[in-house]
Symmetry: C2
Subunit: 326 residues, 2 copies
């Protein structure tokens, strides 16, 4: 599925976001420019800025403030990825070496700190109160999500509830923030019900997005996802397909699963055996169904706004979140 069709109603603004990002990534320190240039080049599809701009577009032409906020949200996302990759010791992201892989963990800490600080500076400098309130809350929430993930990765069993709390804080909160900010711009700052609705929309999309990410860790092609296979399990991360599989499995299968989970390295045959077991116990089906249900709930929240190209694009963005293959 092609994301550029989703982006069509805000294509011009997204180009302006790219320009903002180049400016915001520019620093007085040569090494930060080299590392930042690498992060910027690794780019990605600008999922969060796209949502922010599309939600703003529902109420008219997105303002230059919307463009700045979209750049800030992407910058916070980039900062979180740089720190996460260092926390997870990941060496590849979207098929490119990570900052900790190409430089060091030390440089990843510094680069992430710079990006967080510069993102907040941009909002403070433009005196954008509502986006500042939203982003300050969310950046705190995201670091709590990281801590929760750290705690769960070292705790053996993970309940579905804990998984959802972690995904909500770590991933969905920022996508919710992007949509809430989009709804609060273009005259929407004093419409708390609208802001809340789009925050919920974004959070549902965000949780669905992450479930699909976790499915892709099992079922994706490494050449397409740009990540090594079984990366989550190697980090000790139990995600929804496995949590559901363990709950739904017969006693014998659950025992087999638990033995397999003690592995840290996977030969292709062993990995295939685990996948078969998760498939048979309905772990993948359960995760897919949860993602689809969240996508349906998100789409329903769009119906309060009149039909328009931006609304259709937001609906397509939901489709994309649950049907993408990378």
């Amino acid at each position: 599925m092609d994301f550029s069709a989703v982006q069509k109603p805000v294509r011009r603004e997204l180009n302006a976001v790219e320009q903002h990002l180049r400016d915001l990534f520019h620093t007085p320190v040569p090494i930060l420019n080299r590392v930042g240039g690498h992060v910027l080049a690794g780019g990605g599809k600008k999922f969060r800025p796209t949502l922010l701009l599309l939600v703003a577009r529902l109420k008219g032409e997105p303002s230059p403030h919307a463009v700045l906020c979209a750049a800030v949200v992407e910058m916070v996302h980039a900062a979180a990825l740089v720190h996460d990759d260092s926390v997870d010791k990941s060496l590849l992201r979207r098929g490119l070496p990570t900052v900790n892989g190409l430089w060091t963990d030390e440089m990843a800490i510094i680069m992430g700190d710079y990006l967080y600080a510069q993102a907040m500076s941009a909002l403070v400098g433009a005196k954008l109160d509502m986006p500042m309130q939203v982003m300050a809350r969310v950046v705190t929430e995201m670091s709590c999500g990281e801590a929760l993930e750290f705690e769960l990765a070292h705790s053996g069993d993970v309940a579905e509830e804990q998984y959802f709390a972690m995904v909500h804080a770590k991933t969905a909160s920022l996508i919710g923030a992007a949509c809430e900010i989009g709804a609060g711009l273009n005259g929407g700052a004093h419409n708390p019900a609208r802001r809340k609705r789009y925050r919920e929309f974004g959070e549902k999309v965000g949780v669905a997005f992450q479930i699909v990410d976790d499915l892709l860790d099992y079922l994706g092609e490494p050449e397409v996802t740009g990540k090594p296979v079984a990366a989550d399990l190697a980090d000790g991360k139990m995600t929804l397909p496995l949590i559901a599989a363990l709950r739904q499995a017969s006693e014998r299968d659950a025992r087999r699963l638990r033995i397999m989970l003690k592995r840290r390295r996977w030969a292709p045959g062993q990995w295939e055996a685990l996948r078969t077991l998760v498939e048979r116990t309905g772990g993948f089906d359960y995760a897919r169904a949860r993602a689809e249900a969240l996508a349906d709930e998100a789409r329903a929240l769009l119906l309060a706004d009149p039909v328009a190209p931006a609304r259709r694009a937001l609906s397509m963005a939901v489709d994309y979140a649950v049907r993408r293959n990378h």
Copy 2:
């Protein structure tokens, strides 16, 4: 020299800062509370909050906003230390294990991110515009300082100018910010000249403070400083005493110094030989003189305000910065 005498005029406010810090360090994630509790217990002397409150005190009773800002500045300082210790792979700070030492580098990243985020949230939540502007600028500057230090540590020779640029960004900027915020509170927000004067005061104190830190790395007693000896050199960091020594040394001594610098581990005798050489070439004297000159300039900036207990305490704080032994 006893820092509690400096703190006397703002003792009550400093107790309120401690309470704020306990509240701000409290999170919904158990592991963050354990790690945060450790960071908080490691405490330190609250140098930056003390300066902020004393500068505010020059214009009357410090407001609850001043107390909140003092807590925020201390929190940003704590965040920077947690990340720095991980970047530098330091295992001890003030005689206690660091977060990366007691837990992992991963936890240090997460904890620092949380503290930065929570600090900005506190300012945003209280809608403190001026402190937000100052802190947003300074947090960006501090991460640039970290990057500069990273670059210099991997670049062999360091010019005095580069050293000062790094110290300014990494250490002095936050102390300058504390004093600028103090000057901007109590009705001072619209007195840019006063804010600028106290920012300069704080920056001068900050640079002097760091030079003394760098001297203590050579001359301090590990039992008093709570840090291992020669920690900077082991990290590849050239600081002012050594930069001055290399410049002032005879060709033969400079050659000897450069050979010594290739070491990464130091036996007591070798370390003593390096110290003797830096002493003989006047490296320590030069660094001490620079710190004292900055302290004099800082004290002179206080004279524009009338004599008062807070002014005397600020002058004593300058003495403390250059005469402390830990």
